[in-house]
Symmetry: C2
Subunit: 407 residues, 2 copies
Amino acid sequence: MIAEIISIGNEILRGEITDTNASYLAAQLPLLGVELHWVTQVGDDQSRLVDAFRRAIGRSDLVLATGGLGPTVDDLTREALAETLGEELHSDPALEAGLRDLFAKWGRPMPSHNLKQAAVIPSAQPIPNHRGTAPGWWVEKGGKIAIVMPGPPGEMQTMWQEEIVPRLAKMQCGGVILCRTLKTFGVTEAAVDEMVAPVISRSAAEIGIYAKPDGIYLQVVAKGAGQSEAEEKIRETEASLREIIGEHIWGVDDDTLAGVIGKLLAERGKTLASMESYTGGALAASLSDAHESSRCYKGGFVVGSEAVGTVLDVPGGSEDLHGPSDGEMIAWAMARAARQRLVADIGVGVHGSQGDQSRGAVVFIAVTDGQRERSRQTTWPPLRRDTKHWVAVAAMFELRRLLLDVG
Amino acid sequence: MIAEIISIGNEILRGEITDTNASYLAAQLPLLGVELHWVTQVGDDQSRLVDAFRRAIGRSDLVLATGGLGPTVDDLTREALAETLGEELHSDPALEAGLRDLFAKWGRPMPSHNLKQAAVIPSAQPIPNHRGTAPGWWVEKGGKIAIVMPGPPGEMQTMWQEEIVPRLAKMQCGGVILCRTLKTFGVTEAAVDEMVAPVISRSAAEIGIYAKPDGIYLQVVAKGAGQSEAEEKIRETEASLREIIGEHIWGVDDDTLAGVIGKLLAERGKTLASMESYTGGALAASLSDAHESSRCYKGGFVVGSEAVGTVLDVPGGSEDLHGPSDGEMIAWAMARAARQRLVADIGVGVHGSQGDQSRGAVVFIAVTDGQRERSRQTTWPPLRRDTKHWVAVAAMFELRRLLLDVG
């Protein structure tokens, strides 16, 4: 099945927003065994929209359009698809009643122009929108499928996952398609590739490997005649992968590292404090951003490399401390100081030098719970723009290992 | 002039990267008086590329293509444009020599497949790439212009700004087009719109108003027969805007607020320290991220709301402090404590409650240099996802006001 995406909206063509709907859908389609050939971005202009729909329906089996379903006169996606297919728009009584109910629930009068969102054409089946007022359309005609979804990413993604994926999966394999993502850290993409090759060759599920900002992800996709068959395939494949690479897997699906740490802290009734130089607040920001960790995270100290001495009360400051072993000592002193000053159960310290163009950055990570202490020296290539982010991820991974008491 | 963008690469159609080149160029084109009608994303597939180029050249005056100029066999943009125009590729001796020089400078042998990047067609003029190995192409044929640029955003943007904008400006207005961005904070888009309306109506330059993550931007675009005429128009318009809204303007063009603060600190030989609860490290991360501010920023404390008492040594902790005036007192205590403990000239404190679904968040910002103290209470609508970011921006704006000693 060949697919095409049409992203609709003047704000895209003016460069005011970046079209993330297309990349979201593009990443989803391979899971359904659908091949994407084209993405077109077009403004809210009826003749250009009709042109785009006509071409897409001509050359692709599945057309996914997002945007232009709002209540204003500028929103022309329904009108354009109706013209493309030579059909007339009419108001759907059930959709109209649904819209009126929604506004009544909100305690607000429904503006008359919202009625536009109840319009359908004879070959369109409405798709419920659980997060907004604009229903989508599922249109089948002449052996082709055109699906129209709202533009706001939250509305689009919910409609896609809850309403569209199950239907497309049924069409594609006569059953269900399930996906599970295993998230790893501390191994390179090439190493993951080599380690899991034997599983890939014999697994009943498909396995993809992707480099992401918080490590390498393994994406497991399984098809089955029913839910249980697909679930069983996912379970088996996940078990095989965990046997090989389990120690590097820190989470699944929507997990974040900060969220995982927050959950582990909460389960153990422990609190956490941090002190960081190199990462300049990136670690604190990650830990306090996650809902799960913000309750157990008591806070942290962000210090410039030269101010470490002032904060730690090390006589003479950090200038007296040189070389790798000193860097490790400082990171430990930072972890202990964070823990003691904020009266937390666990402390984490991050200390390092910015490095320069020839040498990379050398960063020390230390974690302590008062009894056990772990530390790790990490080196990072020069001139990487996102090294702070990676070091913060590495520090959270060390914290997770301390909490799980793994080597 | 009607333009069309073609973004090329399998990694876009697999959803592995989001196409930010298209939105960058889309935002640039209005400055040149060029209207964008279409964006097409297509994979590295010769027949689909030819299809896309043929259609674009047929319906648009200016075609901007990015990507597919790498040295590997997958990269087919040159081949596809050659086929579209019915021309033959040949190696350009000057480009080939340039590539060999580049690799010699790097002290690395040139892989033979990099020779591909020296290929041109008769109607293409090479465009220098100051940041990579792949030259661009400027093609004029049959009254249409096709411009091909490399895919990596850094390379593309440099080539666009340095090589392509001046040429397109010359074509569009027979002269030069200049742009200046004035960045404001603390006023709404609607208020800016109303305030600057009189300037817009009589200015020799065009003025656009855009909401951005660090405030409202005013974009001034001026055309002139020569550089000096355009510069004069920009200067006049900027002066008129500054008369009206100058107190809210914190920077221009590529300035960041953290960078502006860093510069002000360095000029005055002052150092800075922070203590934040509500923003959870977002303020520290911003201040330490900017190259200019990282040297003068001694560090900061990130504390959970409940740990403020522990850190500040306020007997009984923050539970004893309630109500708005207490919130302001805490923010002040935080600013003073940050300044004293990190031995800095200036301290900034941020304290607030998360708020809930009905009430918004109330956040206090305090700054002190030991003599002068300023504070500000800010309220933020409930359920905004990026409130932490906005509060960090507001805190930096207060710091700037203290440093400039403005009311």
